[in-house]
């Protein structure tokens, strides 16, 4: 009987729940805002790591709002939070959303802290480039001071995920937690806190905890490894061990993006530059089944 149960359990498809307005998905960013995030990103990425990562998440939020927009308005397929950790640990949204731990995407769309006018170079259709003014909504600003209280941030993530799952959506696609950091935890070994996050589960699977290490190092980024054999140090191996395996549809998306993704690949990136960070977020937040 036991073996039959095990066999049946093994055949239950996880990470396949439909994401809908009635059963939305929670995406939570844990964003390292320690002093070292004020260092240059280096390589071909100008500016500080904190500025670059803030731009990338603001643009990700912008794209999410567009993705969820329909004729009648924005459909709340997702609720999103950004928890910063550095000198303080807490919600990072500015403007009307200040203090909000999670906000539905319709509220995010209509409440940027401000809309900046930026320029981007686009093709002029004759082989040249011209500058074009584009609107750039900003929901939160970069910060870089203090230590790296990763354990505390993971504790916040567990609290929010637990409340989401137990109080609201026990059958939803599991919450996705993306931890973006450039350094080692300064409030202890985060392994147990990470395990506590991953142990929160809906009927569709455990919370997905993905870790992305951003770096000024010029070494090539390592993304979605299946084991820790090629990782350079103890710190990288620690973040790898904290990371969830990629569900099948995300692994397929990563392969489609040109990543070498083996069986058992984890949602982990090391030495990421701006391009690798954007690709990582694209894969790690890819819905499998949006209604």
């Amino acid at each position: 009987m036991d073996s039959r149960l095990t066999h049946l359990e093994a055949n239950i498809v996880k990470y396949a729940a439909e994401i809908s307005r009635g059963n939305p998905c929670c995406v939570l960013f844990l964003l390292d805002q320690s002093g070292s995030m004020g260092d240059p990103w280096g390589g071909e990425t100008p500016g500080k790591k904190a500025d670059g990562v803030a731009d990338i998440i603001n643009r990700w939020l912008q794209n999410l709002c567009i993705k969820c927009a329909k004729e009648e308005g924005v459909r709340d397929y997702f609720h999103v939070g950004v928890i910063g950790y550095g000198a303080q640990v807490g919600p990072a949204f500015g403007g009307n959303l200040a203090g909000r731990e999670l906000a539905p995407v319709s509220e995010i769309a209509t409440n940027p802290a401000r809309v900046e006018n930026r320029t981007k170079k686009v093709s002029d259709g004759a082989g040249g480039l011209v500058e074009q003014s584009v609107k750039f909504p900003v929901w939160f600003d970069p910060q870089a001071n203090g230590g790296t209280p990763m354990c505390q941030a993971l504790g916040e993530a567990r609290r929010l995920a637990l409340s989401w799952v137990v109080d609201k959506y026990p059958t939803c696609f599991p919450p996705i937690v993306i931890n973006i950091t450039d350094g080692e935890s300064t409030d202890g070994d985060p392994s147990a806190a990470a395990e506590a996050v991953r142990s929160v589960a809906t009927s569709d699977g455990e919370v997905l905890l993905f870790n992305l290490h951003v770096s000024s190092n010029q070494s090539a980024p390592v993304t979605f490894p299946a084991n820790d054999a090629g990782l350079p140090d103890q710190f990288a191996r620690l973040l790898f061990s904290m990371s969830s395996p990629l569900p099948g549809h995300m692994a397929a998306a990563a392969r489609q993006e040109g990543h070498q993704v083996g069986d058992g690949a984890r949602g982990f990136g090391f030495n990421a530059d701006a391009v690798a960070t954007i690709k990582f977020l694209d894969v790690g937040t890819r819905p499998s089944n949006l209604r």
Partner: protein, 248 residues
């Protein structure tokens, strides 16, 4: 030549009727002895906005002859019409960007003629399908031939794409002779995938579909679709079926 049409549709479970983004045409019984009849089903993409409007333009264009998929330049007039519907709207930043990206839809078109000979012709872009049945047996499956052919991201006709792209992705048109009593089924992708899965398993899905049109049938289409969804045999998607019977 006489042709009878049964049309069925339902939105995704959990959505309202006005959120249905497939489209079909015609929506009434064709007049007898017209010599030529056209039918179309389009499946508007959930990820885009104003998809229903685009899907409706495509099916009506295909049926009234404005659109000929083998001549992609005929798309331009429909694209201008879609743009004219969307452009005057005052939209917030996210909706404006979404509309700028355009709407997308799959389309399958069937034309039946009885002159000079009884023949049919079909064209398609994407994964909406035609099945030609004779005495309940599947003669032709177009453009998808196997359940495994259904991918997550089929090529779709864009309201802002250039005709050349559509020409490159147009499935090779299919054609054949028809005989009185033949049936043609046009379906959007979820039901078409179910139909091929059942066929490959050695079952006869055409019988279930024929039963829908039986006057003694007590299970309406929506109830039947819901039971297939509940048993995980049908993906939760907008679902459309046209059943066309050529009787003489």
């Amino acid at each position: 030549m006489r042709v009878s049409l049964n049309s069925y549709w339902t939105p995704k479970a959990g959505n309202q009727d006005d959120e249905y983004e497939d489209a079909f045409a015609p929506d009434s019984q064709p007049a007898p002895d017209a010599g030529a009849y056209r039918f179309a089903v389009a499946d508007g993409a959930t990820e885009a906005s104003y998809s229903r409007s685009w899907a409706e333009l495509l099916v009506h264009g295909a049926v009234d002859g404005t659109l000929d998929l083998t001549d992609p330049s005929s798309l331009s007039a429909l694209q201008r019409e879609w743009d004219a519907r969307v452009a005057p709207l005052s939209l917030p930043w996210f909706a404006e960007e979404k509309a700028r990206q355009g709407a997308y839809a799959a389309l399958v078109v069937l034309e039946l003629r009885d002159t000079p000979t009884r023949h049919w012709r079909a064209s398609a872009v994407g994964d909406s399908c035609l099945f030609h049945l004779r005495a309940g047996n599947l003669q032709t499956s177009y453009p998808m031939r196997h359940a495994a052919d259904f991918g997550i991201s089929p090529y779709l006709i864009g309201s802002r794409c250039v005709g050349r792209e559509v020409a490159e992705r147009l499935e090779a048109p299919a054609s054949d002779a028809w005989e009185p009593g033949d049936e043609f089924l046009l379906m959007s992708d979820a039901l078409a995938c179910w139909f091929l899965t059942e066929t490959e398993a050695g079952r006869c899905p055409a019988e279930s579909i024929a039963h829908l049109a039986d006057p003694n049938n007590s299970t309406p289409f929506r109830e039947w679709v819901e039971s297939l969804r509940q048993s995980h045999n049908l993906r939760n998607d907008d679902t459309t079926l046209l059943r066309i019977a050529a009787t003489q």
